[in-house]
């Protein structure tokens, strides 16, 4: 029942997204124009650490933008309806799952565009598999934290501003880990050198999901 509801809700989110195409296209345009502005100001970055940091900052801001809307669509009538029929834990899991898929797609897209527009000489010995793993794990923890915090922020009026000040400080651990991890991948590291990053990032992911699972029902109850 739980799993069935979960998939139903995720599917519902997708169909909602498909109905409101302006939202997803605005995020994609946001990413493209941010990267284009960066490419005009940098053209080429010789230092790979700066290239990497810029990439993660762009990801941070575009994911914040994308996920800030995840609890905004819920008007109070619909919320009341959902409240009567489903378990709030299913709801938060479905939101996290949906945002996970969305952010992975967005991050892969931004990696492609970023790599296309901004060159770096130091990228010759990049380990692509490891880099993608870093990007996936990093964006997973970013998106799940942002989902939970956007649920908190949706209770206030000033949604996006509150979301950033609430989320950025607690995002720093996973962001720093991801930056270090992808730096390692850029410098040609191998999977066994990245063991501790993989373990810590997965643990943080798990922790965030457990915390959201435990705490969301309190937030939901009016």
């Amino acid at each position: 029942m739980f799993v069935k509801n979960l998939f139903h809700l995720v599917k519902h989110e997708f169909s909602l997204e498909m109905k409101q195409k302006h939202f997803i296209s605005s995020i994609v345009l946001y990413i493209v124009s941010t990267i284009f502005v960066c490419s005009l100001s940098f053209t080429s970055i010789s230092e790979t650490t700066i290239w990497n940091a810029l990439f993660w900052i762009i990801i941070l801001f575009s994911l914040t933008n994308a996920i800030s809307k995840s609890f905004l669509n819920e008007n109070s009538d619909k919320q009341l309806f959902l409240y009567t029929i489903i378990n709030p834990r299913v709801l938060i899991l479905s939101k996290i799952l949906y945002n996970l898929v969305l952010s992975i797609l967005l991050v892969l897209l931004s990696f492609f565009i970023f790599n296309f527009f901004i060159q770096s000489d130091g990228l010759s010995d990049i380990n692509y598999n490891l880099f993608l793993l870093a990007v996936l794990l990093g964006s997973m923890s970013l998106s799940s934290t942002l989902t939970m915090v956007s649920a908190i922020a949706s209770k206030t009026n000033n949604n996006i501003g509150i979301l950033s000040i609430l989320a950025f400080p607690i995002l720093i651990p996973s962001l720093l880990l991801s930056i270090q991890f992808s730096n390692l991948a850029i410098n040609g590291g191998t999977a066994d050198m990245a063991g501790q990053f993989i373990v810590f990032l997965s643990l943080i992911n798990l922790l965030i999901i457990i915390l959201s699972f435990l705490l969301f029902p309190y937030l939901w109850r009016e």
Partner: protein, 351 residues
């Protein structure tokens, strides 16, 4: 009588803090030889002027000096003459072969023992590889002094240990109390727990700011080359523990903004309790994990988020632990007072 039984810990806090402050301002720093001129010795007879700190040499006092390497005394000082309170003149006769070119200086009087690592260089000597090529002398130290250790580079700023470090201990305990009452609030929805959680965050933030200020001053005078008070550089360095402190402060400032942006009292309590728990757990993760991955300027690093085992000596321990306990109790007391003020304000509002 009942009052004393109930409030003994407040008296304990006062006693501990008075003890801490008295100790850390009144006990002198241990005497130490801080510089020698010339710094490098030649083979044969040399005359050195040694400058010390807090040494208080007396005219006609018996002073013994030796150069040593790995606890083996090698050259004894002769014709020691006191020039002033902090200055003496010593003659050293350097042999042709020594086990090292960089030597430690040890100085004993009847009042204190002092040790200056790697103070003296003797570049012209040949390195002796086995112990038959040089003679090891005997040099005993007897004085037992009660004072604050005089560490390289720290100097008098070591006294800040009793103020800077306990701030973070107290802050973590008080924020832990806050989270505990947030959990209690979510289980009972009783507004009195929310008041405690809120006031604990306020006091925790106060301790965080005090810790940042004391740490900043300490960093300026030990880690930075810019010891001029009126320049902006040197107050902040990029270090994993400073980042942790900054993140903690940001999280709890955000907590306060979240509270003030919500109107209804019960919603304010509920939403901020959820954020408090969520943020605290992730902050703990940050503090536990990241210091293990990066190096830090703070003591006890390369894998350890807390102290190194050997950073404190017994004299410092005698004040440091009471200081930590004293500051924690003071913080709890402050939270208690703030809670009572809030309760009075709430009752006055209803009337």
């Amino acid at each position: 009588m009942n009052g004393i039984k109930k409030h003994w810990w407040k008296a304990l806090a006062v006693i501990l803090l008075v003890y801490t402050i008295a100790f850390s301002f009144l006990v002198p720093l241990s005497p130490k030889i801080s510089s020698a001129s010339p710094k490098s010795l030649e083979i044969g007879s040399n005359t050195l002027t040694l400058t010390g700190y807090n040494t208080g040499f007396l005219e006609g006092e018996k002073i013994y000096a030796c150069l040593e390497f790995e606890k083996k005394p090698l050259v004894l000082g002769e014709n020691i003459e006191v020039l002033s309170e902090n200055k003496i003149r010593v003659d050293f006769t350097v042999p042709e072969k020594l086990p090292s070119k960089v030597l430690n200086l040890r100085l004993n009087t009847t009042r204190f023992n002092s040790f200056a690592p790697e103070l003296i260089k003797a570049y012209s000597v040949k390195i002796a590889n086995d112990s038959s090529q040089y003679t090891t002398l005997t040099f005993s130290s007897s004085a037992n002094n009660f004072d604050i250790p005089n560490r390289l580079q720290l100097n008098e700023t070591i006294r800040n240990l009793m103020f800077h470090v306990p701030m973070w201990f107290a802050m973590m305990i008080i924020l832990g109390i806050s989270v505990w009452y947030s959990i209690k609030y979510l289980n009972t929805f009783d507004i009195k727990y929310d008041i405690i959680a809120r006031e604990a965050v306020n006091i925790g933030l106060l301790f965080a700011f005090l810790g940042l200020i004391t740490g900043s001053i300490w960093a300026k005078f030990t880690w930075s080359e810019h010891t001029n008070l009126f320049t902006t550089s040197g107050w902040w360095v990029n270090d994993v523990k400073l980042n942790g402190a900054a993140i903690t402060t940001l999280i709890y400032l955000a907590y306060r903004i979240l509270r003030s942006s919500l109107q209804e009292e019960s919603q304010k309590a509920k939403v901020s309790a959820v954020y408090n728990i969520f943020a605290f757990v992730l902050m703990i993760v940050f503090i536990m994990i990241l210091p293990r991955l990066t190096d830090s300027l703070h003591p006890g690093n390369g894998g350890n988020p807390a102290f190194g085992k050997y950073d404190l000596d017994n004299t410092l321990r005698m004040v440091f632990y009471p200081a930590v306990l004293g500051w924690i109790l003071l913080g709890v007391w402050m939270v208690n007072l703030k809670k009572r003020i809030s309760n009075i304000e709430n009752t006055l509002d209803y009337e």
